[in-house]
């Protein structure tokens, strides 16, 4: 009967919208947390913390990763799958560099007596660690999707017509970049 293939069709129609609504939820999650920071600051005993330069590096790295992924998608559309593979690989590497730079940022904070938890922590220092860690938690999802794209590229699963999975993955990846830039500016101008 006709129903056999409706699942394929449903998937085609709904993958991107599903992602967009999920992104809306994540936006609200971080909006809730960052407005919590603002509300806490109103309370008075909110300490200022210096910004680690490593976070500035993170910003450039994640923007670069978005650009390389984007170039990868363009290459797929043009049928240049070799270049696409390279681009996705570069994106993957950059994502690990990003995490490394975050780690460096935390080390710097830690060495300057700014702690995530415990009696020497304040709510602003905890927020700083928490927000970055939560961003990375979401980034892990992005890395998984990058890996999927990478393996599918290697198995020639995409064509110049068929690249829905890449589009979904790249949308999420750009979103993660945007989210980081937002957090970075928020740290610069609100917390620091």
């Amino acid at each position: 009967m006709e129903n056999i293939n409706y699942k394929e069709e449903i998937k085609k129609k709904t993958s991107k919208p599903l992602l967009w609504i999920a992104i809306m939820s994540i936006v609200m999650f971080f909006a809730g947390l960052t407005s919590a920071v603002v509300v806490s600051q109103g309370g008075g005993s909110f300490l200022d913390v210096p910004m680690p330069t490593a976070f500035t590096i993170s910003t450039f790295v994640i923007i670069a990763s978005s650009l390389s992924f984007h170039y990868g998608l363009i290459s797929i559309k043009k049928g240049k799958f070799g270049i696409a593979k390279l681009c996705v690989l570069v994106t993957l590497i950059l994502s690990f560099v990003f995490i490394a730079s975050q780690w460096m940022g935390w080390t710097y904070l830690y060495e300057n007596g700014i702690f995530a938890v415990g009696s020497a922590s304040t709510s602003s220092s905890s927020f700083l660690y928490l927000l970055t860690a939560l961003h990375i938690a979401h980034l892990v999802g992005g890395i998984v999707s990058l890996l999927v794209v990478f393996f599918k590229l290697n198995k020639n699963k995409y064509s110049t017509e068929k690249y829905l999975g890449v589009q979904v993955s790249i949308t999420y990846w750009h979103f993660l970049g945007g989210l980081w830039v937002y957090l970075y500016l928020f740290f610069m101008y609100i917390i620091a």
Binding site: I10, T14, F29, A31, S126
Partner: protein, 592 residues
């Protein structure tokens, strides 16, 4: 449809790990009702204590064992039960139970889709809900008992594990359960929104959608925007509890000991909680309102009055619900100007709410009403929405709220406007779509009995609470017999508790009717209520994919009841025209 292959996995995938929206809908309904019944029994138990403080009830001891040593509820158990009752009713029955059941059942059927956008996410949504239900129930049996800080789990009671008995393992499990619940709710809402926006059949424009679907859509949008904020609130709470952060805590002493927390504020939690909490009220209410719109129109055999106004008012309610949360916090020492702003936005909600009530009544007006149990419960909803809404005007007003905040006035108000309205909408929906869900009819006589006893008991329980509240009786108190100024309230409390016990028995009637009819009820015809919407064009028996052959095309809005032509004759010879009937020559589509 894929071939019928018979093996032992059939049962497993058909009934347990189903990805079919119709089966998932039933799973939500049964789990939700089970939780709801447990919540109801809890309320009856603590009502016994409130009505006859200190009196011994042996039957209760039999049921609850050491929970009620000597048949009298212990104070800490009282707090635990109140908390669990509120949590279960609001989240498990009226959020997951209500939305999960009807969004799942009706969205694909009424928009003309073969299933949800993602059957897999949908199944996950149910299973997360199930697991969170189980954890919530288990939390009743851990050391120290269930969470006891109220369903709003304000810190510090919720933030310091050593604060009261229920602040320990019970609170931890509450948080675990709710985190899983939120994930379930997000997955569900995600699916509902995308399905409605992307999988409508040909001809089903947004302005031809039944109002149920509009209600589910707006509900789901509220869900994806507000639940993540609750998740963030819960996350900070977990950090404070387990990792020694100070998001919600500052300058705290416990047993004369200074605790190591500086800089946080419990008010922050209230902001985050109520940013979800108020939209949550509408997450609970809107599906019920949508269901009512549908039933009121079908059962009065008249087009819904003000279709567009109904959509507009739901959108307005949805939007406003995000900017009123401060009305729960008038007593937190907020700037009076801010209080005035929240008063203003809150009172604004009265306008779209009034539009809805007006439209329901106008639809019913001079209708040829079929008083089925579904119609009765819908009218019941209109009643409770008015009586509960009116006291909302008082509570929304900061100057007045300060006097009755945290009293039984609030309990009366929100039970009527949110609890009763939503549960009435849910009952209405079950009576109306039971034939679609189970292929059988429920018994009308028992349904009517259920309705009348329920509404009488409901008002008997909640109406007098307003007077208690005005007299200053506080909510969440184990007993009021210790305070001489409440001595003359004993009779009212007894009166309320008698109705509460009766209400419990009324629900047994429903339970019997439901279970009996599901197996033994008369077989349902395809379109028992002569409805116009697409779900009644599907075969009575269920299968994955909903329609044999092509999905029907839609040609008109969903409310063509009693439509007559220029000669005053029914266009099709019947008093309803299905959405699948093409428009006649020169005939105008409704809803404009």
């Amino acid at each position: 449809m894929s071939a019928h292959h018979h093996n032992e996995n059939d049962f497993l995938f058909k009934y347990i790990f189903s990805t079919d929206h119709k089966m998932i809908s039933k799973q939500f309904l049964i789990t939700g009702f089970t939780m709801g019944f447990i919540g109801l029994v809890m309320s009856t138990l603590f009502r016994l204590q409130l009505g006859w403080p200190g009196e011994s009830f042996e039957i209760v001891e039999l049921l609850m064992g050491s929970w009620q040593e000597g048949g009298v509820m212990a104070p800490d158990k009282y707090l635990a039960l109140v908390t669990m009752h509120g949590t279960i009713m609001v989240f498990f029955l009226l959020t997951a139970g209500l939305s999960g059941t009807f969004s799942n059942l009706l969205i694909p059927l009424q928009i003309g889709a073969r299933d949800m956008a993602s059957g897999f996410l949908n199944m996950l949504s149910y299973w997360f809900f199930f697991v969170s239900s189980v954890i919530m129930l288990i939390s009743l049996f851990v050391e120290g008992g269930a969470a006891s800080a109220g369903w709003t789990i304000y810190p510090p009671l919720s933030a310091l594990p050593e604060a009261i008995p229920g602040s320990g393992a019970g609170m931890t499990l509450w948080l675990v359960s709710m985190a899983i619940f939120i994930v379930s709710s997000l997955l569900g809402s995600l699916n509902y929104i995308v399905t409605i926006l992307n999988l409508r059949t040909k001809g089903m424009s947004m302005t031809r959608l039944p109002l149920t679907i509009w209600a589910f859509l707006i509900t789901a949008i509220l869900g994806v925007l507000s639940f993540p904020v609750l998740l963030s609130a819960a996350l900070l709470l977990v950090m404070d509890r387990s990792f020694g952060t100070s998001f919600y805590l500052s300058d705290i002493y416990i047993g004369g000991q200074v605790l190591d927390h500086t800089g946080g504020s419990p008010i922050l939690f209230e902001h985050l909680f109520w940013f979800l909490g108020h939209p949550e009220v509408y997450i609970v209410l809107l599906p019920a309102l949508g269901i009512t719109s549908e039933i009121v129109s079908t059962m009065s055999r008249k087009p819904i009055f003000g279709y567009r106004a109904m959509i507009g008012s739901m959108m307005a309610i949805g939007f406003l619900s995000f900017i009123v949360w401060g009305h729960h916090m008038f007593l937190t020492g907020m700037n009076p100007f801010l209080g005035a702003v929240f008063t203003f936005t809150t009172l604004l909600i009265a306008i779209p709410s009034a539009v809805k009530v007006f439209n329901y009544i106008t639809t019913l007006w001079k209708g040829n009403i079929v008083f089925s149990p579904a119609a009765l419960f819908s009218v019941g909803l209109v009643s409770t929405f008015i009586t509960g809404g009116v006291t909302g005007l008082i509570l929304g007003n900061s100057a007045l709220d300060i006097n009755v905040h945290d009293t039984y006035f609030v309990i009366g108000h929100f039970h009527i406007v949110m609890g009763l309205s939503a549960i009435f909408g849910m009952f209405a929906g079950v009576y109306h779509w039971f034939p679609k869900m189970f292929g059988r009819m429920m018994n009308n006589k028992l349904g009517n009995l259920h309705f009348w006893t329920t509404i009488i008991c409901a008002y008997g329980v909640f109406f007098p609470m307003h007077f208690l509240g005005l007299a200053g009786v506080p909510r969440r108190y184990y007993t009021n017999s210790e305070f001489p100024m409440f001595d003359n309230m004993v009779d009212i409390n007894e009166f309320i508790s008698m109705f509460a016990v009766l209400a419990l028995f009324a629900q047994l009637v429903f339970m019997f009717n439901f279970i009996y009819s599901a197996f033994r009820g008369p077989r349902a015809p395809q379109n028992p209520w002569k409805g116009t919407t697409l779900e009644w064009t599907t075969p009575v028996e269920h299968f994955h994919g909903n329609w044999y052959g092509d999905i029907p095309e839609v040609h008109r809005w969903p409310y063509d009841y009693s439509k007559v032509d220029a000669n005053g004759e029914y266009v099709t010879g019947e008093d309803y025209i299905p959405q699948t009937t093409p428009l006649g020559e020169g005939e105008k589509d409704g809803g404009h």
